[in-house]
């Protein structure tokens, strides 16, 4: 079993293994036909599997070990990037990366959550779970962006804000709340992209935006499927059922008007063609920024405010 593939990807993994083996054969001319046939078969199989993914399978894709993380995107998505550190008060939270960047020549302030791939990286970035100083660093950078009139681009990829003793002591709640409050009226365009996992308040604290985009197989939820299952079913293994109930996939969230744009992923997900995914993301961001940069502050804030006030389904 190939550990870089999920359960439901195993049939694809087998075919990919065969293709890989053929690639190692010296005389490629002899096997060209066989190779093409296998590739077609693999594509067809992937299409078939991906046309009927369950919400739980999508949740697994959103957290796929080979999925791109924030730092993997920076080189291709932006022309340049200079990291800026620290909240100027307590420390530099490595779960949130921020800095000045350019995209197609346009200046932006970039802020993104970073999970980390190897064990060492995961520990360094705290598995992408920010502490209050991370949110405060993000807010500091957003305020700077507002001052110099440059748009903000954020990437969301977190299981949630870190539930630790120090985080609580330093006001995790207040840090998140403050970002919601300030972002909702920040006088510069904000574009947020959920690139993997949008975990609750810890995600929203970087995602109050003029445009919220989601990669196709990302998830965004008030609580993780496992957390929901352990509370409502007293059984974390019922996460698959909870995932369906929570409606945490991009098409569902778009339908409810909670996100604005779905960014299509390469066949089989981002991890099957990372370079294509990076380019798609780059053009999606550029497209939104070009529209938003044309709006006056008043137009921008009016539209953002109206959108936020429109969230909710109730009778009165």
């Amino acid at each position: 079993m190939n550990l870089d593939f999920l359960d439901f990807e195993q049939p694809i993994a087998e075919l990919e293994g065969k293709i890989q083996a053929l690639c190692n054969i010296k005389d490629q001319a002899d096997i060209a036909d066989e190779m093409q046939a296998l590739k077609d078969k693999s594509d067809a199989l992937t299409k078939k599997i991906f046309s009927s993914l369950s919400d739980w399978q999508i949740s697994q894709l959103a957290r796929h070990p080979q999925r791109l993380y924030t730092l993997d995107y920076l080189d291709t998505v932006f022309d340049e990037f200079t990291e800026l550190h620290g909240d100027r008060a307590f420390s530099d939270d490595k779960a949130i990366i921020g800095g000045l960047a350019r995209i197609e020549g346009m200046p932006v302030m970039f802020i993104g959550q970073q999970k980390g791939r190897t064990t060492e990286e995961k520990l360094h970035h705290n598995f992408g779970m920010p502490r209050p100083e991370g949110y405060r660093k993000a807010l500091r950078l957003m305020r700077m962006a507002e001052k110099f009139e440059i748009p903000v681009v954020t990437f969301v990829d977190t299981p949630g804000a870190y539930p630790g003793i120090g985080a609580e002591e330093r006001g995790q709640s207040e840090a998140i709340a403050r970002n919601l409050y300030e972002m909702s009226v920040l006088k510069t365009p904000i574009v947020s992209v959920v690139i993997g996992e949008g975990g609750s308040g810890g995600a929203l604290a970087l995602a109050v935006a003029d445009r919220v985009m989601m990669f196709e197989y990302s998830i965004y939820s008030v609580i993780s499927p496992e957390g929901c299952a352990s509370i409502l079913y007293k059984d974390a293994t019922k996460a698959n059922i909870a995932a369906e109930q929570l409606k945490l996939t991009s098409p569902n969230l778009k339908k409810f008007g909670l996100i604005d744009v779905i960014i299509e992923e390469p066949l089989g997900g981002i991890h099957r063609d990372p370079e294509a995914a990076k380019k798609t993301l780059r053009s999606a961001i550029v497209k939104e920024l070009k529209t938003l940069n044309n709006l006056t502050h008043n137009q921008l804030l009016k539209a953002r405010g109206d959108k936020i006030l429109g969230f909710g389904e109730f009778k009165s």
Partner: protein, 280 residues
């Protein structure tokens, strides 16, 4: 059946008859037996151990506002079950049950009234309604409370008691954090105060939105206030939590709240502070 069992039911029913239900209650903290009438006069604070008991929204608003402050705001706003959520029970049925049990339509109740003659809008959470959780209806009611303040030029006082965002409305509930926080900007623009009174318990998405955005943060003694629940924190860090972790006194020490005020003094203290910060 022994002779004892034969007479037992009659004995218990006789005892029950002599003590009308609801006349006596027990302090959940010190187990003292308390006379309901006295407890009410003491604002549901245990006279023997000073434990501040959880109270319902109506009691809260009645004890805080002047007598006769009965105008409810957004009283018809109710949830729609947008996700058609169903776990072991249907969300719709859970809502109906909560409505029956609490006699409220949602987990927050808003009233326009007076506090020692001063026009105010006050909101109180109904913790027994789905754990005081915030979904669409709670978010909308909060925003309408803010709008009422804007239209009459009154301050907003909110007594929170909530487990956080309401799971059964999924991401829509999460967005209520943004919605309520955004609304507070409007209050601020008009120099209208928002006083957040944190009562036991104020957690998760409610604590991580409007409840931590007050001009003043006032907590009742020993209230549990935080982002993640203490059990979640304990399981994550795998060490013993410090004494008094996430309690009002701990938050005061860490700088998250302005003061801790005894329930009996809340009316006087809040009125006093409002007279200082509001223009007459």
């Amino acid at each position: 059946m022994s002779w004892l069992e034969k007479i037992l039911p009659t004995i218990t029913s006789a005892v029950k008859k002599n003590i009308p239900e609801g006349l006596w209650s027990k302090c959940p903290s010190c187990d003292a037996t308390l006379y309901e009438e006295e407890l009410k006069n003491k604002f549901y604070v245990c006279p023997s151990c000073d434990h501040h008991m959880r109270i319902n929204a109506q009691t809260r608003l009645e004890m805080f506002l002047d007598e006769g402050s009965l105008v409810e705001v957004a009283e018809n706003v109710e949830t729609e079950d947008p996700l058609k959520f169903k776990d072991q029970k249907k969300y719709k049925d859970r809502i109906s049950a909560a409505q029956k049990a609490t006699n409220q339509k949602e987990a927050i109740v808003v009233r326009q009234g007076t506090l020692k003659g001063m026009n105010v809008v006050a909101a109180a959470f109904e913790f027994k309604f789905q754990g005081g959780s915030m979904g669409s209806a709670v978010g909308e009611r909060f925003v309408q409370a803010v709008n009422k303040c804007l239209s009459i030029g009154a301050p907003l006082i909110c007594f929170s008691a909530s487990g956080g965002a309401r799971m059964q409305e999924g991401l829509i509930s999460l967005m209520q954090m943004a919605k309520t926080s955004y609304a507070l900007n409007k209050l601020s623009d008009q120099q209208l105060p928002f006083i957040s009174v944190l009562t036991d318990p104020t957690m998760g998405g409610v604590s991580a939105s409007f409840a931590m955005l007050g001009d003043l943060h006032i907590a009742e003694p020993n209230a549990l206030i935080g982002f993640a629940g203490p059990r979640v924190v304990e399981q994550t860090v795998r060490e013993e939590l410090p004494e008094g972790f996430q309690r009002s006194e701990f938050l005061l020490e860490k700088g998250a709240i302005d003061m801790i005020v005894h329930r009996a003094e809340l009316r006087d203290k809040i009125h006093n502070l409002l007279t200082i910060i509001t223009k007459s």
